[in-house]
Symmetry: C2
Subunit: 660 residues, 2 copies
């Protein structure tokens, strides 16, 4: 059987499965899947995409990202053709107990990143390509070809600015092992795309962003696709130093004549009464033909001995200190990481001077970088403000300047985490709102991301409200399994920066612009889920108030406590550095021992510390009967930090007023 006939047979099989699965599901996107059948069939089964399907966690597999996530039926049909999934499984598409969800998620071993919010796949792919390259380089493994990340994009999503952010940064980093394929099927959800089939316009745009562009005039012609992919693979060498985009003109709904190139078929399955007609048009095929995905054969080794050594090395890397778990569960969980945490000395902060928590974060990041080879930092061109530049100085190959494109930065971080790196992504807290969708999607990729937002709250002062992170706690708490931390001083910020490495998942560390006094000693620990209690000079049966604060407001609360002490009004101050999870048991008992509970936070009213506290206490059936919430209620403006804390009534004087 000729290779071309094999491919045609596989395409029929894939088409039939796309149509059957969506019709059975009564929903889904067959038309968007059908347009890319030939493109992906040739990619997967023509020897271009190299993956060991017996070992999806093999760290040097190529990666495939379905950026147009709604074409999930296509992805599933490809793996059915490869016999990774069965036809029976295919027909469970979109059903409650099926792993074959409407949009792909990493429940499936061949999916690295969840997609479905358009325009993110190229960034995630870029992160993986950077990560694979770094890993190969650091391990010193001789390779014929770097593991390559293939990203299938829809043409509608080319309107997302993030795609162009990814292109810009990919060409800046000369990432040749990233190959995009645009399935240019002309039709979006509700009408024609901006550029329709104007491949020339796309080509020019993409080339000006520093990419090589190859064109497939007929995205359903197997021979033409094969030839172009051969060219792409030839270009994919370290020497070209350019990423490649393949523009393929395709027909939406291809293969079902009543659907082909027609509006009104986006996200609509073939009605069950027309299924037979559709399958007839697709035609019969030899069911014994199997799609073979070629495993990677990268290594330039000649002897068994050498192979063995390399694999030994890899084994050590995967399980140990060299690069983490390629499935994203990072190496911090291994015993080795605890050793790192122990090994790295803490820093001693001079208690006679003040230090900003953002700076202590930079210190810890730098120390981590010199002990943990999996740590990488991503910067949004503000590294001298966030202090990620400290890592850049000592470990430049683990520092990625992503420039001012927060969306791309977060998704590149996600990609790096999927190669086993532990990314710290950092910019001003306010600007992470730019990447909320990317953070949201990262949770569905089950990524490990340490997000560090500096310049939180009105206490930043003179720069004014546009630069103030005032909704960041609300945003980060809303991520289902996130951890939200807000240290008040340098030692706690230093500790927590290192602490988050011990567990996978999404962590948010909120740091303050201004320098703050040192509260804690160098041996103090700050477990996630803990809090610190600062008792008044005199403890009583029932204190006048419990003041719950975090970050900058801890200092205001302590000032208030000191002043009140002198007036023989005794209040307890809680440094709630761990906002999520929070220690509800301790809080409950503290609330009970106080006449009044006050939460004071440098954040807007909704979704912040007060609501976290009230929610936890209410669910424990122990809500505070008398409660005050001091927070940012007026629109902040420029001024000194002191003026703003006073204006917003979250300073010591406001706390004292609330107690009295």
């Amino acid at each position: 059987m000729s290779s071309s006939l094999r491919m045609t047979t596989l395409c029929k099989r894939i088409r039939a499965n796309i149509v059957s699965s969506t019709t059975t599901a009564k929903s889904g996107h067959p038309s968007s899947s059908l347009s890319a059948v030939e493109l992906t069939a040739v990619l997967f089964f023509g020897g271009f995409f190299n993956q060991d399907i017996t070992r999806f966690d093999y760290p040097f597999n190529d990666k495939f990202v379905l950026s147009k996530g709604h074409a999930a039926p296509l992805l599933y049909a490809l793996y059915e053709a490869a016999r990774v999934l069965t036809h029976t499984e295919i027909l469970t598409l979109r059903k409650f107990n099926s792993h074959l969800q409407g949009h792909p998620t990493p429940e499936l071993p061949f999916v690295d990143v969840a997609t479905g919010s358009l325009g993110q796949g190229l960034s995630a792919g870029l992160g993986m390509a950077l990560g694979l390259r770094l890993k190969v380089k650091e391990l010193g493994i001789p390779m014929k070809r770097e593991p390559t990340v293939w990203v299938l994009l829809g043409d509608s999503e080319m309107a997302e600015g993030q795609v162009w952010e990814a292109m810009e940064v990919a060409s800046f980093y000369k990432v040749n092992n990233l190959i995009g394929i645009v399935d240019m099927n002309r039709l979006g959800q509700s009408g024609e795309t901006e550029l329709a089939w104007d491949s020339d316009a796309y080509k020019k745009r993409i080339e000006t962003f520093g990419w090589q562009v190859l064109e497939i005039k007929n995205g359903h012609n197997i021979d033409e696709i094969q030839n172009v992919f051969k060219k792409a693979n030839a270009l994919n060498t370290v020497r070209t130093q350019k990423p490649t985009m393949i523009l393929a003109r395709t027909v939406k709904g291809k293969g079902i004549s009543f659907m082909e190139n027609k509006e009104g078929w986006h996200g609509k399955p073939v009605p069950s009464e027309r299924l037979k007609e559709a399958l007839k048009e697709i035609g019969t095929y030899d069911k014994k033909i199997k799609g073979i995905i070629a495993p990677p054969q990268f290594f330039d080794y000649k002897t068994q001995e050498k192979t063995k050594k390399i694999l030994e090395k890899l084994g050590r890397v995967i399980g140990g200190a060299g690069g983490g778990d390629p499935n994203g569960a990072h190496i911090g969980q291994s015993p080795k990481s605890t050793e790192w945490a122990k090994e790295s000395r803490g820093r001693i902060y001079d208690t006679s001077t003040k230090t900003a928590t953002r700076e202590a974060f930079g210190d810890a990041l730098q120390d981590l970088g010199s002990t943990n080879p999996a740590v990488v930092a991503l910067d949004g061109e503000v590294g001298n403000s966030t202090f990620t530049e400290r890592l850049k100085k000592t470990n430049p190959s683990h520092f990625f300047q992503i420039f001012i494109d927060e969306e791309n930065m977060v998704s590149v971080g996600l990609g790096l985490s999927k190669i086993g790196y532990i990314p710290y992504v950092s910019t001003f807290a306010a600007f992470f709102t730019r990447a909320f969708d990317q953070i949201r999607m990262s949770q569905y990729s089950h990524a490990t991301l340490n997000i560090v937002g500096s310049h939180c709250g009105c206490s930043i002062g003179q720069d004014g409200v546009s630069q103030m992170g005032l909704e960041d706690i609300a945003m980060m708490r809303s991520i289902r399994e996130s951890v939200v931390l807000c240290p008040a001083d340098a030692p706690s910020a230093y500790f927590l920066t290192k602490e988050v490495i011990k567990q996978p998942g999404i962590h948010y560390l909120r740091t303050t612009r201004g320098k703050t006094p040192i509260i804690y000693g160098k041996d103090e620990t700050f477990p996630i889920g803990g809090l610190k209690v600062h008792s008044p000079s005199h403890t009583t049966q029932k204190h006048a108030a419990l003041i719950i604060a975090a970050g900058i407001t801890v200092h205001e609360a302590l000032k208030a406590q000191k002043d009140l002490d002198k007036k023989h009004i005794y209040v307890v101050v809680v440094d709630l550095y761990s906002i999520k999870p929070l220690d509800v048991t301790s809080l409950s008992s503290l609330v009970k021992k106080a006449n009044h509970t006050i939460v004071v936070e440098d954040h807007y009213e909704a979704g912040g510390i007060a609501e976290a506290v009230l929610s936890a206490l209410s669910l424990a059936h122990e809500p505070p009967s008398s409660f005050t919430h001091l927070c940012v209620k007026k629109e902040p403006r420029s001024g000194t930090p002191e003026e703003l804390l006073h204006f917003e009534e979250i300073d010591a004087s406001a706390i004292i007023k609330a107690v009295a």
Copy 2:
């Protein structure tokens, strides 16, 4: 005095004010301001930018957007040179009681949109350009030249994908009255930009996005700038149908030799001990020379009579029904708008069938569009899902297809609101997370934006978690003065879509994908800040439970109530369609009359309805002593809506279980 000497004198004055004001403030961005002195001085005082400075609210003024908002000292110095601000005021920069904040805000009459989060200005400018064009066209005013929007961009912010989104859509709409100027000063905050001074690379990129590009080789050469601006103004006619970008090569810190083109000076003022040296280098200047901003002279009128008629027409328009208040406080507040609301008939929904709230939104939008000429809709290429397509059908010129670029969509909406239009921006609730930063910044522009997020919650079913808005309430509540609404049925969705038009500000309307039964009659009203109480068949002194729900969960709560009724367990159901503001008085009294309070919501745990309720009740010192929160706690997946509501334990059976 020659025009060139005048300009040189003004530039000295502007430079001196930039340096003095930032040194006095001890913070700010002189280097980023200095690079654009000549560019903006020629723009403002060379007759290119046309603004009536005695009447900033004149609706046909040109608009200037300082997209690189950190160059605020430059903006203030320009208006000082024009004698709009005094030198004394200039020296209040960044002080607490000054309007001259670190980044510009609309506190100042010459600022339309707050800037400071980079990459948003071109989109806002595009919205204004589209709005000005629409207004001119609809009023039928004969104009020599459309009012033009000038946007000053930094080169660092060219990395933001949103800039390219704006470029793409601007060329799609052939918006010739939008002119961008890139202040290409090579240096970002922490180092060199990606393209540095490679104007050729910028030019190629921008041209491929459908813009005309003009180059200024020396952005400090007044003659060259004048020549290029003349060309730009010549191109700015309806005939060219292309937006224009001017690329100007400049020197960061220009005019202060120790700062010029040097790293490490971003965001740093001249130290006070070097101020004298800096001012000396800038040189002395004739303080009597005033910068004249030419007022707009657009009209092609010849007689006084005609002028009068046009102005009368304008007067009617500004105050009345034709296009709203150009300062953004929209016309909905005028008596006339109440008439519209009354005039437009409600729709009668057949109680025997189900209707999705997203569809009722579309109905109301369509009805509004035919009665209120200020209403516009912006779509993220999902208009057939969100039902904005209804307006497109009946009022196509007020419908803007912005394609899949949510960031740009929100900022374009902001721009339109600043021209007096009332924008409804709509996409899936989940994808508004993409535009959180743009929504955040819109609040500081004091914009009117009606944000409509469809497909909320896990109840969307089969599409899976990437498409589910599960953090949208948390996000939208965190906006300081937002209104957050979640209607449960078609009549309430219809009513609330129209209700939001009565007041300015940011409103969020959360709509559901699935069809839901009709609960309310056509004469029912749903004031913002209200709620609906559904009593059980038998009312008692103390009910078994109070169930607070919104949207889809209202239906589940009512089912539960019906079932419990049969078992003689009487529960009160609250339809909390107005989540922010909420009626805490009614809620308090209802909570007191129930043994147990349950909040059930199709949203993640943090920041949603439960926390809104707990926060309000706690601040009223009446927290519920016994409380249950039913919400989305597990990672949702594909399935039927019923299966998902059940899986997440937010369906009727879970409510019954929580009551029992």
